[in-house]
């Protein structure tokens, strides 16, 4: 097996045992990237030079007998909305083209401190607004399982990178499903942590009360490994919890799901017609495995979340975004269309710098906050959000985890929904209630669609606040039944995983 195809944990073990070096791992990943990037376009920046130096530094530490940390020599891809000092962070937007963050975000600091090696910055929907990565201002990204399809979004570049074997780990951000939905489309593990578990310092904000950074991986062990590194308190983020983080490796040892109550959601029944049958079949199958592993399957009801979550989300997220994206005004950094008057500087810079979807959301957000509409839209949506939170709390009185599809369909074709944004929004219907309720959720690959080009299909598990260990526990048990997430069959032959 080539080095790039190893899991992160295998890489760390090999590097620390001096079976191979960090530099060799990085070179293997780099050649994989170079081979596939023309086809996938998953990245916006490749940090080859920086990565090589860092890998060499890790090798030096190993040679000297110093422990480089839990991610020693593991290549990691960051979504392009995360600040890494000295490397452009565009958020896939013209308005930030060429902007080089002069500081490291908290997750970049933590990763570097853990010995990770940065491989590149991943493509995304502009400012994380989208579900297909087609709203990148630079280029779309292809799904490694079928390059005619989207990888999902907004963290589509991160997901495609891990699915294609660019790196075993990537970080995405999830505001309404932006980690879980691409994880589902690309056949990976993707985890959206409890709001406040991971610092947002250095994450370019989309909707501050919903954004959360989380890991992509092909194994549950890797997912837990990356989560352990990034889940840390941070005094620079007032919304980052100071609570102690548990050991995320411990739940991986669980033998079964005995004693666990896993809930299906009653309202899903009424929605069956709008969900792809293959998605329902994979969910069914996964629940059967849970049952076989000793879990009790119960039913809970989430009527408010499933019926009103979507419209509320598309009020609240744009409202926050309209304010968060106001700072891109051409005065201090980024694109600046110089004009003779201040007003024209603003209008031209912002008019030229933002893409159509971002403009739509800024305008919607501005509208719902504007004089006379705040109560009717923003405040009403926040009230519904309260109800959703309470509804989940009540549901978790009766179960340990809730299972839902991650997305209503497998990966859709490029261009299919790009002109119908509101239909594209439906891709988030099962994921965004989790953000509104500040809960953790994980998407795992439950299986594949039939047909000539099988597509991965994700299943989502939702846990109560700070319930990440519960999610990892279930995922670890199911991984033994379903197998690890495979590298997509692209380019050079790959092995391992449960490729269909």
């Amino acid at each position: 097996m080539e080095l790039f195809a190893l899991s992160a944990a295998e890489m760390v073990r090999g590097i620390k045992a001096k079976d191979f070096s960090a530099s060799e791992v990085f070179a293997s990943c780099l050649s994989r990237i170079e081979a596939l990037e023309p086809e996938l376009s998953a990245l916006l920046a490749l940090t080859a030079g920086m990565g090589r130096e860092e890998a060499a530094r890790i090798d030096g530490m190993i040679a000297r007998g110093t422990d480089p940390g839990p991610l020693a020599g593991v290549p990691v891809v960051l979504k392009d909305n995360m600040c890494l000092r000295g490397v452009p962070a565009t958020c896939a937007s013209r308005i930030l083209e060429g902007w080089i963050p002069p500081y490291d975000g908290k997750v970049a600091e933590l990763l570097a401190g853990a010995g990770a090696v940065f491989a590149g910055k991943a493509n995304m929907d502009e400012f994380a607004m989208g579900s297909s990565t087609e709203f990148s201002a630079f280029h779309p990204t292809s799904n490694p399982w079928d390059t005619g399809r989207v990888p999902g979004g907004s963290s589509g570049g991160s997901a495609a990178a891990v699915a294609a074997g660019y790196a075993p780990l990537a970080l995405g951000s999830d505001t309404g499903g932006s980690i879980r939905q691409p994880a589902s489309y690309c056949g990976l593990y993707g985890l959206k942590p409890t709001y406040g578990l991971v610092s947002r310092w250095g994450l370019v904000a989309f909707a501050s009360s919903l954004d959360q950074i989380g890991p992509f991986a092909r194994t549950v062990e890797d997912l837990a490994l990356l989560l352990s590194v990034i889940a840390a308190p941070d005094a620079r983020d007032g919304t980052c919890s100071p609570r102690e983080r548990p050991d995320y490796a411990a739940p991986l040892a669980a033998a079964s799901l005995r004693g666990k109550r896993i809930a299906v959601v009653k309202e899903l029944d009424a929605m069956r017609s709008s969900v792809d049958p293959e998605v329902l079949r994979v969910l069914e199958n996964t629940l059967n495995l849970c049952r076989e592993e000793g879990a009790e399957i119960v039913e809970v009801s989430l009527p408010v979340s499933l019926e009103f979550g979507l419209p509320c989300y598309y009020i609240l997220a744009p409202a926050e975004a309209s304010s968060n994206l106001a700072r891109f005004d051409g005065v201090r950094y980024g694109l600046s269309c110089r004009e003779d008057s201040l007003l024209d500087l603003y209008l031209t810079t912002r008019g030229a710098g933002f893409g159509a979807e971002v403009k739509r959301r800024i305008l919607t957000g501005t509208y719902v906050l504007s004089s006379g509409y705040y109560d009717a839209y923003y405040l009403t949506a926040q009230k519904v959000r309260s109800l959703m939170k309470a509804e989940f709390r009540k549901a978790f009185g009766r179960c340990d985890l809730i299972a839902l599809p991650t997305a209503p369909t497998p990966a859709f074709k490029k261009g299919e929904l790009v002109d119908d944004p509101v239909r594209m929004y439906l891709a988030d219907v099962f994921t965004l209630p989790v953000n509104l309720a500040e809960l953790p959720a994980l998407s795992l690959n439950g299986g594949f669609t039939g047909g000539k080009k099988p597509l991965p299909v994700g299943v989502q598990f939702i846990a109560p606040q700070w319930g990440e260990p519960e999610l990892l526990n279930a995922a670890a048990v199911l991984e033994r039944r379903l197998g690890k997430a495979p590298i997509a069959p692209l380019g050079a032959a790959t092995e391992g995983g449960n490729a269909p």
């Binding site: 930030l96 002069p102 975000g105 310092w201 983020d237 700072r327 891109f328 504007s370």
Partner: protein, 496 residues
């Protein structure tokens, strides 16, 4: 029908809080004279990915000011975003407070126009961040190129407390008194240096005029209010309001109408000019800042802040008048600023007679401070030394004239021991015994006069004065005239 035009004034005062760091980031607040854009970081430059974290001290100072102004402090207070575009606002929103301010419903008393105390209600006190500074290309060529403005974010993010009054103020003089009172209070509290010229205390005034029926008092018409900005001194506040009230009254008297607008005070020309009308009012789209969790003001913080509040100026004034018998004007003068009040009380504690100490401070101490451009804190004559000097005068051991000379030497930095002989007085002044002996000698040598006084032939006290003069002459000015005549009266009384 005759009309009366009554002004209605409410003030918004922005006070820069005396913190070491900005309200939402750890950059220094020391921006005066700093090179542009030096005290800046990702947060106060509004860089993508940066997040605000509230400065604890700013909350404490806000609570302190709120309590001193008798406000109710909210136990959960929330920051909102006020969204508008302007180059001095790097995030294109100002983090401020909206419907859940830190403090509400307070009051403060000022000397009213009728001489009686007037209560001015405080609507609210809230915290917010200051904006950066815009420098417009100046004609002096220092920043040539008339087509541009220049932005410096050093001041951006400096903590402000905005104190909003109810429209309880009815004259420009009251407005001035109110601002002076607020300034005095924040200085007393150590909450702000309150320097209007440097912009650490800024006043915006809302003023309108109502037209009433002179006899019935019925309000016939209430003009739109205008907001006046750019008043950089107490005097400017008073003048700008005087101008604006006359202007508005004039418009109303001619049957004209006023529009709601913001006006700019031009101190040089002594007029207000229109800046912008409310037509173009911004829609600020306030909403709770999701980056900043609600601030919990604990009972402990309230309690400890309340306990640590210094005695406030108005309480000090009352106490100085009551406890020390100072006349009202002197009490107000001694309580005007905390350093002066402390100096005064230290003098008294060291044995100086309060009234005399107050006189010395008001005249000599302030004269020397003004001449030398000193502050109370750096004043070379320590209060204990002034107390000694005052006691010498009080005890009749030094005449006021010589004491002034001694004081001048003290102010040069000399010790009392050196200053006394330098002013031609004996070290430590004359002892009480010395003075008694001199009195004895004079009484002995002037038996006839003594006899006349004792038999009641000195109705106008001229003869006592004559004897006093003789003693003073003998003492070569080192004795205090009042003390000497006191001794004389006692001695003359004894022999009767």
């Amino acid at each position: 029908m005759t009309f009366r035009y009554i002004p209605v004034i409410g003030l918004e005062i922005h006070v820069q809080l005396s913190t070491a760091t900005k309200i939402f980031c750890p950059c220094s607040t020391d921006y005066i004279g700093a090179e542009p854009n030096t005290n800046v970081c990702p947060v106060c430059l509004g860089l993508p990915g940066s997040l605000p974290v509230l400065n604890k001290r700013a909350v404490e100072l806000g609570v302190r000011a709120g309590l001193a102004l008798s406000c109710t402090i909210r136990n959960h207070t929330v920051f909102h975003r006020k969204n508008y575009f302007y180059p001095d606002l790097p995030k294109a929103y100002q983090i401020s407070q909206y419907d859940l301010p830190l403090a509400e419903g307070g009051e403060i008393y000022i000397p009213g126009d009728d001489g009686r105390p007037r209560r001015i209600r405080i609507t609210r006190l809230h915290l917010e961040e200051d904006a950066g500074k815009l420098v417009h290309s100046a004609a002096d060529g220092r920043l040539e190129g008339a087509a541009f403005s220049f932005v410096d974010y050093n001041r951006g993010g400096v903590p402000l407390a905005e104190i909003v009054s109810e429209p309880d103020i009815t004259s420009p003089r009251e407005a001035r008194e109110y601002v002076a009172r607020i300034r005095q209070t924040v200085r007393y509290l150590g909450v702000s240096d309150g320097d209007m010229e440097r912009g650490s205390l800024r006043v915006d005034a809302n003023v309108s005029v109502k037209k009433t029926d002179e006899t019935s008092g019925e309000v016939l018409y209430w003009g739109e209010r205008t907001e006046i900005k750019n008043m950089n001194s107490l005097r400017a506040v008073e003048r700008a309001l005087e101008y604006e009230i006359i202007r508005q009254t004039g418009v109303l008297a001619e049957g004209g109408s006023l529009e709601r607008e913001t006006r700019h005070w031009n101190d040089g020309e002594g007029i207000t000019t229109s800046m912008r009308s409310k037509e173009a009012a911004n829609d600020y789209r306030y909403f709770p800042d999701p980056d900043i969790p609600p601030i919990v003001v604990t009972e402990e913080l309230l309690e400890s802040t309340r306990n640590a509040l210094p005695e406030l100026p108005w309480a000090k004034e009352r106490r100085f008048a009551g406890e020390y018998g100072l006349p009202e004007a002197d009490a107000a003068f001694m309580a005007e600023s905390l350093p002066v009040a402390l100096y005064f009380e230290e003098c008294v504690k060291n044995g100086a007679a309060p009234l005399r100490a107050a006189n010395w401070i008001r005249t000599e101490v302030f004269r020397v401070m003004n001449e030398k451009g000193l502050s109370m804190d750096s004043f070379p004559v320590k209060p204990s030394v002034l107390a000694e000097l005052v006691a010498l005068v009080e005890g009749g051991k030094l005449s006021t004239t010589v004491a002034r000379e001694v004081f001048a030497h003290l102010a040069e930095g000399r010790s009392l021991k050196d200053a006394l002989p330098a002013a031609g007085a004996s070290p430590g002044g004359l002892s009480a015994e010395d003075v008694e002996k001199m009195v004895d000698r004079v009484l002995l040598a002037n038996g006839d006069v003594v006899e006349e006084i004792r038999s009641g032939r000195d109705p106008k006290g001229k003869k006592i004065k004559f004897l006093t003069g003789l003693v003073m002459k003998e003492a070569r000015g080192q004795a205090d005239a009042a003390a000497v005549s006191g001794i004389l009266e006692r001695r003359l009384g004894e022999g009767r």
